[in-house]
Amino acid sequence: MSILITPETKIIIQGITGEFGARHARLSLDYGTQVAAGVTPGKGGQVFEHDGKSVPIYNSVKDAVEATGATVSVIFVPPPFAADAILECVDAEVDLAVAITEGIPVRDMVRVKRAMAGSKTRLVGPNCPGLVSPGEGEDSKGGCRIGIAPGYIHKKGHVGVVSRSGTLTYEAVYQLTVKDIGQSTCVGIGGDPVNGTSHLDVIKLFNEDPDTHGIILIGEIGGNAEVEAARWIKENCSKPVAGFIAGATAPPGRRMGHAGAIVGGAEDTAEAKIKVFKECGIEVADTPSDMADALLRAAKAKGVTLS
């Protein structure tokens, strides 16, 4: 099993006719993901063709959901229109909206997050690589790939990965796959200060998933989301957890690429977060090259088999 998405999950791609959305729609189709529909306002009735597969395009998320029964929508819409695209998912009551878009104004996300309170829809992102639940085929094909992650680096298995950063997630996944350790689901929650799903939300799902045997938690400087997750793990999670925090060398007050990665106070430095990780029984990776090995150490200490 996996969390949030399975190989059977039907997805909608908002912005499928844009260059970025189209490119990743093709890659998801190649991976074997059930791309049920595309949404581009004004292009309803057209068809997105790729390699013998046809994906119908609708004018709205609601139309796409009604016609296909899709439960997840991924957003490749430019920043000025992305908040509206998320709200459209909420209105259409999809289970999961995944916002890939980078550069959405904070004020828009503050409003969206408030509007989503109490709604049926969960948001992952924005400014995130998306999610992958690997499949059983060659290069993990036949899985569900939502967003922009490279599918082929994955392998179906039992490790859950959660991270704010795209390339660091790939780094962790690749290290695992090379060691023949597969993944249940890999979730990139995004690098913005206001996002939908937190580290803790994903950790809770991994904890409840019987098929996830170990977890890699990757964080960054800025905010206290990693600390919140670590404290919960200490009290509630018996699965082996390895952690890494990026940005130990980042100077205070400078944004390191991600809008959320900024040291504002004593609490959100890499040093402070690593200290809390250690206090909470999380095996800390000394370098980003050490993430898979750190999880192996944590698993060994708990007598858990990862593969």
């Binding site: 922009i148 790939y170 780094e171 905010g223 890494f244 990026a246 060398t249 980042a250 690429g257």
Partner: protein, 393 residues
């Protein structure tokens, strides 16, 4: 994006946020007319740079204080002449300091008591928060640490905005008189409107003051805006001062590169912000020191790699380069060709270590190995980081 105090005060005026009367200029010929436009009495002379700690700063020629109180017009002009064109070093500028290109003159205020007021985003609740304190004019982090009971926070529900009862509670906690409370409530409401309408990232007034006449005034103003929202505020974009930014960072932004200069000797070129940050960390882990943060984004085209090499090599402290690319979707061979062409074009003489991983990596490594250039390749991030640290040491 940051703006200067005098620009922030102009916005304050538009939003009905009282502050002492002021006038700014970049020309010494206008000092006198600026001062004449103010009322009688004391004049505050303020250096305009994008950094805090100006009052306690020192100029590189030894002149002390980036903010000065003058009793006469002549004294004010003398201070202004010492500041304009001079370089001010404060706790926030780093050793190099910042060149003062604008002087802001304001009327002196008759201070009864100083307070602290700020509006920013609270990440934990994803809501704007107003932070106020009875301890103004001091470093707020120190107040938070030593006397946290003197800091008051108001969280604002974006669905309803700032409620009147919240304002009443806040001004009561600040212990203001009836008239001061009325004035402060109006000021805070207007400030919140500005924060919201202009997509501000943070507004900080330290100090906010009360006067003997029970007026409430913003004596200082530090305002920054959400860069992602600038597209809908051309009037704010127009306030950008390129003199305050690192020329290398400006050049990098033209190529969609996210670059931040640091003071080490190993330059790095990485795709993805998280990987770029941890590349800096791993260099330090193996005893080196990073010269910069550089994220080329998900793509890393040949043009970007060439531009990135040129920017990196513009830093005289750089003694070696570490390229760390995880080519997830991108073809590693395309990236390898970009690196080879970039090296040939810029005529690189420094040690270069490349770690390539991902899609079509075997072909990519072959391209690097057969290029005839002295490019060291690393098997893993750790291996490559160790190699560059050793080469530079």
């Amino acid at each position: 994006m940051n703006i200067h105090e005098y620009q922030a005060k102009k916005l304050f005026e538009e939003y009905g946020i009282p502050c002492p009367k002021g006038a700014a200029t970049s020309s010494s010929e206008e000092f006198e007319s600026c001062i004449d436009s103010l009322g009688e009495g004391l004049v505050v002379v303020k250096s305009q740079i994008h950094a805090g700690g100006r009052g306690k700063g020192t100029f590189t020629d030894g002149f002390k204080g980036g903010v000065k109180l003058a009793k006469t017009k002549e004294e004010a002009i003398e201070y202004a002449n010492k500041m304009l064109g001079n370089t001010l070093v404060t706790i926030q500028t780093g050793e190099a300091g910042r060149k003062v290109q604008t002087i802001y003159f304001t009327e002196g205020a008759d201070i009864k008591k100083e307070y602290y007021l700020a509006i920013l985003l609270d990440r934990a609740t994803s809501r704007p928060v107003i932070v106020a304190s009875t301890e103004g004019g001091m470093d707020i982090e120190t107040v938070a640490e030593e006397t946290p009971e003197r800091i008051f926070k108001v969280f604002i529900d974006p669905a309803y905005g700032l409620a009147d009862f919240q304002l009443r509670e806040l001004v009561t906690k600040l212990g203001l008189s009836k008239l001061e409370s009325k004035n402060a409530a109006k000021l805070i409401r207007n400030l919140y409107t500005m924060f919201w309408e202009k997509d501000a990232d943070m507004i900080e007034i330290n100090p906010l003051i009360t006067t003997e006449a029970e007026d409430v005034l913003a004596l200082d103003a530090k305002v920054s805006f959400d860069s992602n929202a600038l597209y809908r505020h051309p009037e704010i974009q127009a306030l950008r001062d390129l003199n305050e930014e690192d020329p290398k960072e400006i050049e990098a932004s033209k190529y969609d590169l996210s670059y931040i200069a640091l003071d080490g000797s190993i330059a790095c070129l990485v795709n993805g912000a998280g990987l770029a940050m941890s590349t800096m960390d791993i260099i330090q882990h193996f005893g080196g020191s990073p010269a910069n943060f550089l994220d080329v984004g998900g793509g890393a085209s040949k043009e970007q790699v060439i531009a990135a090499f040129k920017i990196i090599l513009g830093d005289p402290n750089v003694k070696g380069i570490f390229v760390n690319i995880f080519g997830g979707i991108m073809d590693c061979d395309v990236i390898a060709n970009g690196i080879v062409e970039a090296v040939k074009e810029v005529g690189l003489e420094l040690p270069l270590v490349v770690r390539l991983e991902g899609n079509n990596v075997v072909a990519g490594r072959k391209t690097l190995d057969s290029s005839g250039l002295t490019i060291v390749t690393g098997d893993s991030m750790a291996d490559a980081a160790q190699k560059i640290a050793n080469l530079v040491a």
